[in-house]
Amino acid sequence: MAVTKVVMPKLSEAMESGKVIKWLKKEGDRIQGGDIVAEVETDKADVEMEAFGAGVLRKILVPAGETAPIGTLIGVIAEPGDDIAALLASAPAGAGAASAVAPASRSATVTPSAPPASVMRPAAVTSAPAAAVAGVVQGQGGRVKASPLAKKIAAQTGVDLRLVQGSGPGGRIIRRDVEAAGSSAAPAAMPAAVAGAEFEDIPLSPIRAAIARRMPLSKAPVPHFYVTSEVAMDRGWELREQLNALEGQPKISVNDLVIRACALALMTHPGVNASLQGDAIRVFHRAHIGIAVALEDGLITPVLRDCHAKPLARIAVESRDLAERARNRKLRVQELSGATFSISNLGMFDVTEFSAIINPPEGAILAVGSVRRVPVVDDTGLGVGRRMALTISCDHRVMDGAMGARFLQDVKRLLEEPLRLLV
């Protein structure tokens, strides 16, 4: 019988390590292929791990509560008679212990993920979980064009190739691109924490670490520009109240109206639904919209796919479901990436307006403020109206101010003539 290695799966391109939340099987339990053996917390979500081989869970190498870099052997499934001594000996000593602490500095957690050279991988042993899951991510994220050397350096230094601008022919990522990304992304090593009353160092949660790592990758290399517009939401508000009064229909939020408006506008302004890919601009024909959801310890942007093809009610149902599962950390892998545009809404915090940071490789993000009751002047004189500020942050390498403004104008028109959102 084959010995099956249970390794920390790579659940997203940006994932570097994962934490075993709990083992659902104990050592000695018999396992069928497809059984859920453990739950893993990644930088984005909690994920159940399926077994890809049958046998007995012979050994748990990384106990619950501990973190391990991706690719680390965390358990072994084999028949009772199989000799797994060699495999255990080859596992990094104290795999769990070495990385039990949350990542204080990135390099510390990344270096143990040493087996990048495939020649070192024992051929007879299957490492199915990592391969299978990685396949899913690759399949929907598209092929990353990178040189073999660039891929190797990225694997060794923990650079997410999807966030790297390729400077080779056709946008191919080459060594110098990865090295540049690595040096700009590597945070300075944190000085040893000093115990004292003056301050407290809270280790970064995986999600906060991911944000800390990814945001500078956007703000520094992506030249942002911002366009703000004010939308009269009186009619939109009225329509929403009417819709929500209908029995048996899902509740519609202001944000759902904005998602729908953006999806429609993205179809008429494909230049905004675009991403810089080396020396080409990739224009998407489908609107996959990332919806920023605030969590206690961070922010996550699950993706609502094909918004352009979904009626308002469906957008409302699905976005609520996504947000809820995001808060409960129950998102599926494929919901974590692939957005072509994002929306961040801080309306519930009584925010007049703000601007958001683009989530590369997307080309733009829309920041949505509160719907405020403000004095307005119209033909009849002074009155009270509902107004909402929208600010779009655009990647200037992909689009220009006028393009962003025209898109925003269309979103505004759709929201101000909200029946358009229903047809």
């Binding site: 050279a117 495939s118 020649v119 040189s147 073999p148 050397l149 660039a150 190797k152 350096i153 060794q156 022919p169 080459i174 060594r175």
Partner: protein, 460 residues
């Protein structure tokens, strides 16, 4: 005096100049070229090509003299050196005609004569009978280089010769001292030795082919010594004077006599008398300073090839010619990757290398892994009866990046390109070993050397 107007004028039609001219023409520009010799420059007429013809002769002579190894008894043969030189002239003529044909095909106008800059967009051509003026939107200077000598030693091309004389002289001397054991020095040493000339190779640095990997130098020194070439390394030449059979060369504490001395101590760029100074073109350490797109410090004026800096190699000049042409045509060409220029020497065994030597690769403290495979263990090499030499692959230990490759052996100059391509594509050791190499070929040694770097060589 007529003035002609063109988009581009190219001064010098060596490998850099003629390639630049053709690429400009391909891109729809009207092109004038200026040449005071035959098209093709030193490379086609006096360098690369005729010497390759001479080296082929040397190879045939050597094969005939060891015909017995193949069970072929040759009862006396005469290797006529004059005919070898005549053959090499024919080869050079044919290649030069080829360039003239390419010029006609691409509608490139050739102005015979000496070109110099009158303004940043004006070239004056002094021909045999008339002086003409070319006005061009952009000018590419590609005037090349000429052999250097040592201070106080004048090249007369009679007893003190340069490669220019060596490639023309139809009479081989009885003995020759070659000063400088770089590519030119060892190639002529090979030719002369095959034709029975008593050769002494003098090198100031501690080893012959000093820019190559140390093990390569050692291997070549071994076979040269076996073939009766006398090597004097780590010695400086104090003086070269007439005397004895022709010249007397005073080394540090030693005197050397020979009929001729060949100065092969390097080449210097031809940057004088071209009008560069008056235009304010910046020249640094004897070479014209250029941007990554080969533009000099004067806008619209480009310089390529030997005059634009090291390495002084024809293929580097050609690559620069393409970059300059495309830049002029408004494209944004990829600059030449100077770290990835193969270097080839055509003595027997041949030498080819790319990237860093082992010593250089270890300098910065990065860990490297080295794989070496000898041609004695390669089936094709044994069948050919050419088993001298080896392939050495130097890779970064952590990533498998190909840092340098050094080949000494049969057809080394052909084998190097899989590594050049590999490096361009940023392949690592793994991509090379997963590339199936046909059997039996000399290139299998490239696969084996790569495997050896991973501790997996099969055939040794």
């Amino acid at each position: 005096m007529a003035t002609h107007k063109f988009d581009v004028a190219v001064v010098g039609t060596g490998p850099g100049g003629y390639v630049a001219a053709i690429r400009c023409a391909q891109l729809g520009l009207s092109v004038a070229t200026v040449e005071d010799d035959r098209p093709g420059g030193v490379c086609l007429n006096w360098g690369c090509i005729p010497t390759k013809a001479l080296l082929r002769n040397a190879e045939v002579v050597t094969l005939l003299s060891r015909a017995g190894d193949f069970g072929i008894r040759v009862s006396g043969f005469e290797a006529n050196y004059a005919e070898a030189v005549q053959r090499s002239r024919k080869v050079a003529d044919r290649m030069a005609k080829g360039v003239e044909f390419l010029f006609r095909k691409n509608k490139i106008t050739l102005f015979p004569g000496r070109g110099s800059l009158k303004a940043k967009n004006v070239v004056e051509v002094k021909g045999a009978t008339a002086t003409e003026t070319i006005e061009a939107r952009a000018i590419i200077m590609a005037t090349g280089s000429e052999p250097k000598s040592l201070p106080g030693v004048a090249i007369d091309e009679k007893t003190v010769i340069s490669s220019n004389g060596a490639v023309r002289n139809e009479r081989a001397p009885k003995s020759i001292a070659i000063i400088g054991a770089g590519a030119v020095g060892v190639e002529f040493a090979d030719v002369y030795a095959a034709y029975g000339v008593q050769v002494t190779l003098v090198e100031a640095l501690p080893r012959i082919v000093p820019v190559e990997d140390e093990e390569v130098s050692k291997e070549l020194a071994r076979t040269f010594t076996r073939r009766g070439v006398s090597l004097k390394t780590g010695v400086k030449v104090a003086s070269v004077k007439p005397g004895g059979p022709g010249v007397v060369i005073e080394l540090e504490g030693e005197k050397l006599e020979a009929e001729q001395v060949l100065m092969a101590v390097g080449r210097s760029a031809k940057v004088a008398g071209l009008g560069l100074e008056s235009l304010g073109v910046q020249v640094e350490r004897g070479f014209v300073k250029v941007s990554p797109h080969m533009e000099t410090t004067v806008k619209g004026l480009y310089a390529i090839g030997d005059m634009a800096g090291a390495p002084l190699l024809a293929h580097k000049a050609m690559a620069e010619g393409v970059v300059a042409a495309e830049a002029i045509a408004g494209k944004s060409p990829r600059p030449v990757d100077y770290g990835n220029v193969p270097s080839c020497t055509y003595c027997r065994p041949q030498i080819a290398s790319i990237g860093l030597t082992e010593a250089r690769a270890r300098e910065n403290g990065r860990e490297v892994t080295v794989g070496k495979f000898p041609f004695t263990a390669n089936g094709k090499a044994v069948a050919l009866g050419e088993t001298e030499g080896f392939i050495k692959v130097i890779a970064d230990k952590a990533t498998g990046e190909l840092r340098g490759v050094h080949i000494v052996g049969p057809e080394a100059t052909e084998i190097i390109h899989e590594f050049a391509l590999g490096r361009t594509l940023e392949a690592t050791l793994e991509e090379i070993i997963h590339t199936i190499h046909a059997h039996p070929t000399l290139s299998e040694a490239a696969l084996e050397a790569t495997l050896a770097a991973l501790g997996q060589a099969i055939h040794i």
